[in-house]
C-alpha cells in the first residue's frame, strides 16, 4: 500500500482517538482550570471534525475501506479492533463530530457559571469518543463495547448534577433501561456468532448473502433481539421511559445525546446490520417504531416543560426512523437521522438559550412574548428547528420525513403510512403549541418580561445549525444513503430536487401538507394568545392521561416492586428454611443423633463389650467361612 495512502487512513483514527485524549487530559491535568479545559475539549473536537471532513473530501465522500487490528484470536473466537470506513460511517461520523463541535462551542457559554465546568467538557469528550467508536466499529463485539461505553457516558452526563436526587435517579433509570435492551442485544449477537462463526459485519453480510437462511429458525429471533438493543438505546416502546427523565441533565447534554447522537446510535446500528433482518422482524420493527411515534406525540401534546416537549418530540421522530427501517427504507431512515440531528440539536440549543434567558425557568406557561426579547434565538428556533420538524415543504425535515412516508407506501404498509401522517399532524400541533405559548403572545411572568438575548458564543452555533436545518437536505446525502443500500436513484440538481420529490410521491406530499396545515390551524386556534392551557377542559381525562405519559412509569414501578417482592420472599424462604434450617441445622442434628446413638454403646460394662466382641467375631467368621 502506498505510504501516503496509509497516513491518509489515519485521519479517521485521529478523529476517533482525539476525544479520548482530550477527556483523559482534562481529567488528569486540567480539572481545576476552567478555561483550559474548555479550550482543550473544543479544540480537539474541531480538529476531529476537520480531519474527518478532509478525509471525506479526499475519498469523494465514498470511501470503502476497513482497517483492522486483531485483538483476541483464540480458535473460533476472533475479535478485532477495526474501523469500517464507508459512506454510512463517514456521514454518521461527520454528524457526530460536526453537531458535537457546535454544541461544545455553545456549552462554553451555557455552562460558564457552573462549577464543574471542566468535568462537563471531559465527559462530553468521553461521550464523543464512545459514540465514534460505535460509528466506526466493524464488528459486533467492538460495537457492543462502545455501546456500553456510550451508556456509561450518558449516565455520567445525565447525572451531571448528581447532588440533585432527581438527576441521580434519572441517570440510573437511563442506564438500567439501556441495560435491559443490551441484554437482548447480546443474545442476538451470540446467535449470529453461533450460526455464522464471526462477529465481523462484512463476514456476516457475506454469510447471509451466500446463504439467506444461515440463521435457520433463529432468524426472526436474532433480528428481534438485536432490535432490543436499538429499543434500549433509541428509547422505543416499551423501553422509552428513560428519555424524558434524561432531561435532568444540562440542556447541551440533551442536545448532544438525546437529539443528535446517542439515541440515533440505535437507528445507525439497525442500518448497519440491516442485512440480518428478515420480513417478520422488519414488520415488528416497523410497528414498534410507529407505535412509539404515536405514543410519544400524544404524550407531547400535554407537557408543560419545554425540554420535555422536545424530548417527546425526539422520541416520536425516533419512532419515525425506526419505522423507516421497518418498511425496508433504511436509506430514508438514515437521511431523517441526519436532518433530525441538525434541527433537533438546534431546537434543544434554542431551548437552552431560552432557559438561560429565563434564568433557568423551564415551564412554558411562565414564558411568552420572547420573540421580541430574544430575536436571534427565535429566528433560529423557528426557521431552523420548528419548520423542518413539522415537515414544511422545501425545508430539510420535509425531504426526509417524506422519504420515510413514501417508503411506507412503497412497502404497502398502509397502516403505517396513515399512522405516520397522523403523527405528522400531531407533531405540527404540539410544536406550534410550544411556539405560540413561548414566543408569541404576552409575557406570562416577570422572568419572561426581563428576558434577554444570549451571548454570541451561544447564538453563532444556533445560526450555523439554522442554515443546515433549512438547506441541509439539498446536499446529496440521501442519494448517498440510497446508493449505500443498493437502491440506484438518480442524483438531481439541487434546485430540481423538491420538484422531483413532489413528482415521485405526490400522494405522500399531498397528505403530508394537509396534515401540517391541520395541525398548525388547530394549534393556532387553541393556543395563540392564551394565558393557560385550554386542552384539559376540552379533552378532560384523555388530557390527564397524556400528561401523565400514559402511566408507563407507574406500571413499571408496580411490576418491579412486585417481582422484587416475590423474589425477596422466595429468597427468604430458601434462606430460612432450606439453607439454615434443613441443611445446617439438619447436619448439626444428624451428627448429634448419631453421636448420641453411638454413646449408648459405651456402657462401661465389660460383659457388654465381651458380648459385642463375640458378635463381631461371629459376623466375621460368617463372612469368611460362609453359611
Amino acid at each position: 500500500m502506498n505510504p501516503a495512502e496509509n497516513i491518509y487512513y489515519m485521519l479517521p483514527l485521529l478523529t476517533l482517538l482525539l476525544p479520548l485524549v482530550s477527556a483523559v487530559a482534562i481529567m488528569a491535568f486540567r480539572l481545576h482550570d476552567k478555561e483550559k479545559a474548555g479550550r482543550t475539549s473544543v479544540s480537539c473536537s474541531i480538529v476531529g471534525f476537520v480531519s474527518l471532513f478532509i478525509f471525506g473530501l479526499g475519498t469523494g465522500f465514498h470511501p470503502d475501506k476497513e482497517l483492522s487490528f486483531a485483538w483476541v484470536d483464540a480458535g473460533p473466537l476472533f475479535i478485532e479492533f477495526g474501523l469500517k470506513l464507508d459512506f454510512l460511517s463517514l456521514m454518521m461520523g461527520l454528524v457526530v463530530t460536526g453537531v458535537g463541535m457546535l454544541i461544545q462551542i455553545f456549552s462554553q457559554g451555557y455552562m460558564a457559571e457552573d462549577k464543574s465546568y471542566a468535568r462537563f467538557f471531559a465527559l462530553l469528550s468521553l461521550f464523543k469518543f464512545s459514540m465514534l467508536g460505535i460509528v466506526f466499529a466493524n464488528n459486533f463485539v467492538q460495537m457492543f463495547i462502545f455501546w456500553e461505553l456510550v451508556g456509561v457516558s450518558s449516565y455520567l452526563l445525565i447525572g451531571f448534577w448528581f447532588a440533585k436526587d432527581s438527576a441521580a435517579d434519572a441517570s440510573k433509570k437511563a442506564f438500567l433501561t439501556n441495560r435491559i435492551g443490551d441484554f437482548g442485544f447480546l443474545l442476538g449477537i451470540l446467535i449470529c456468532w453461533a450460526s455464522l462463526g464471526s462477529v465481523n459485519f462484512a463476514v456476516l453480510e457475506n454469510g447471509i448473502a451466500v446463504n439467506p437462511i444461515a440463521l435457520g429458525g433463529f432468524t426472526t429471533a436474532a433480528g428481534l433481539l438485536i432490535f432490543c438493543g436499538a429499543m434500549g438505546k433509541s428509547a422505543q416502546f416499551p423501553l422509552h421511559v428513560w428519555l424524558p427523565d434524561a432531561m435532568e441533565g444540562p440542556t447541551p447534554v440533551s442536545a448532544l445525546i438525546h437529539a443528535a447522537t446517542m439515541v440515533a446510535a440505535g437507528v445507525y446500528m439497525l442500518c448497519r446490520v440491516f442485512f440480518l433482518f428478515n420480513d417478520a422482524a422488519l414488520m415488528a420493527i416497523g410497528y414498534i417504531g410507529g407505535i412509539t411515534a404515536l405514543l410519544a406525540a400524544l404524550m407531547a401534546v400535554q407537557q408543560d416543560d419545554i425540554k420535555r416537549i422536545l424530548a417527546y418530540s425526539t422520541l416520536s421522530q425516533l419512532g419515525y426512523m425506526v419505522m423507516g427501517v421497518g418498511v425496508a427504507a433504511p436509506g430514508a431512515a438514515m437521511f431523517h437521522l441526519t436532518t433530525h440531528a441538525f434541527f433537533k440539536a438546534l431546537l434543544f440549543l434554542g431551548a437552552a438559550s431560552v432557559i438561560l434567558g429565563m434564568h433557568h425557568e423551564q415551564d412554558i406557561w411562565k414564558m411568552g412574548g420572547l420573540k421580541k426579547k430574544m430575536p436571534v434565538t427565535t429566528k433560529a428556533f423557528f426557521y431552523g428547528g420548528l419548520l423542518p420538524l413539522v415537515g414544511m415543504p422545501f425545508f430539510s425535515g420535509w425531504f426526509s420525513k417524506d422519504a420515510i412516508l413514501a417508503g411506507a407506501l412503497h412497502h404497502h404498509s398502509l397502516f403505517l403510512y396513515i399512522l405516520g401522517t397522523g403523527v405528522a399532524a400531531l407533531t405540527a400541533f404540539y410544536m406550534f403549541r410550544l411556539y405560540y405559548v413561548v414566543f408569541e403572545g404576552e409575557a406570562k411572568s416577570d422572568a419572561a418580561s426581563h428576558a434577554h438575548e444570549s451571548p454570541s458564543v451561544m447564538t453563532r452555533p444556533l445560526e450555523v445549525l439554522m442554515v443546515l436545518g433549512v438547506f441541509g437536505a439539498y446536499l446529496p446525502i440521501d442519494y448517498g444513503f440510497e446508493h449505500f443500500f443498493g437502491n440506484h436513484v438518480h442524483e438531481s440538481f439541487f434546485l430540481q430536487k423538491p420538484f422531483d420529490v413532489i413528482g415521485h410521491n405526490m400522494m405522500a406530499v399531498g397528505f403530508g401538507g394537509l396534515a401540517l396545515f391541520v395541525g398548525w390551524l388547530t394549534a393556532k386556534m387553541a393556543y395563540s394568545d392564551v394565558s393557560e392551557d385550554r386542552l384539559p377542559r376540552m379533552l378532560g381525562p384523555l388530557s390527564r392521561v397524556m400528561k401523565n405519559r400514559f402511566y408507563f412509569d407507574e406500571a413499571y414501578q408496580w411490576l418491579i416492586a412486585h417481582t422484587q417482592d416475590a423474589a425477596a420472599k422466595l429468597m427468604d424462604f430458601i434462606d430460612r428454611w432450606i439453607l439454615a434450617g434443613f441443611i445446617i441445622r439438619g447436619l448439626h442434628g444428624t451428627t448429634e443423633i448419631v453421636g448420641r446413638a453411638l454413646r449408648l454403646l459405651q456402657t462401661g460394662s465389660i460383659q457388654t463389650y465381651a458380648f459385642l466382641l463375640v458378635l463381631g467375631l461371629a459376623a466375621t467368621l460368617f463372612f469368611v467361612v460362609g453359611i
Binding site: 458378635l615 461371629a618 467368621l621
Partner: protein, 164 residues
C-alpha cells in the same frame, strides 16, 4: 472301649463345665473347674497326648487352680445373689453362644474329615515332644521363659499394697 471312654469323658467335661457356669458359689465353681480339667486330661489320654495329659493335671489343676482358690479365699467372696442375674444378659449370652456355635457347626458340616480317620502313627510321648520342642520350637521356648519372668515380676508388683 475307646468309644465308651470318649462318651464318658466328654459328657463329664461338658456337665462339669455347665456346672461352673450355673453355680453361685465361686468356690464350688472353682472345684468344678478342677473336675473339668481332670476329665479333659482323660480326653487327652484318649488322643494319645500322654505328656500333655500329665502336664494338664500338674500345671492346670495343680498350680493354676490352687492359685485361683487362694485368691477366692483371700477375697472372701460370698455367694452371688440369684436375682442379680438378669434375663437380658442370659439372652445375650445365648445369642452370642448360638451365633458362634452356628458358624462353627456350619463350617464343620462343610468340611471333609474322612481322611482324618485312621490309626495314629505318632504318639505324644515325652521324648518326641522334647525333641520337637528343642529343635524346631526352641526360639518360642526361650521367649516363653522370658514371658514367665515378666509375669512373675508383674504379679509381684501388682500385688504390693503401696507402689512406692
Amino acid at each position: 472301649m475307646q468309644d465308651i471312654l470318649f462318651i464318658l469323658f466328654s459328657v463329664l467335661t461338658l456337665v462339669f463345665a455347665a456346672l461352673i457356669v450355673a453355680n453361685r458359689n465361686p468356690v464350688t465353681s472353682a472345684l468344678f473347674l478342677v473336675a473339668t480339667i481332670v476329665s479333659m486330661s482323660g480326653l487327652f489320654v484318649l488322643l494319645n497326648a500322654f505328656f500333655l495329659a500329665a502336664v494338664q493335671i500338674l500345671v492346670y489343676a495343680g498350680a493354676v487352680m490352687v492359685l485361683f482358690l487362694f485368691v477366692i479365699m483371700l477375697l472372701d467372696l460370698g455367694t452371688e445373689e440369684r436375682k442379680s442375674i438378669k434375663a437380658f444378659s442370659v439372652g445375650a449370652g445365648l445369642i452370642s453362644a448360638g451365633g458362634v456355635l452356628g458358624v462353627f457347626w456350619s463350617a464343620l458340616q462343610r468340611s471333609d474329615m474322612t481322611a482324618a480317620l485312621g490309626q495314629p502313627s505318632v504318639v505324644g510321648s515325652t521324648k518326641d515332644l522334647g525333641l520337637l520342642l528343642f529343635n524346631k520350637y526352641v526360639l518360642p521356648f526361650e521367649v516363653l521363659s522370658v514371658l514367665l519372668l515378666v509375669a512373675m515380676v508383674g504379679a509381684i508388683l501388682l500385688s504390693k499394697k503401696n507402689l512406692n
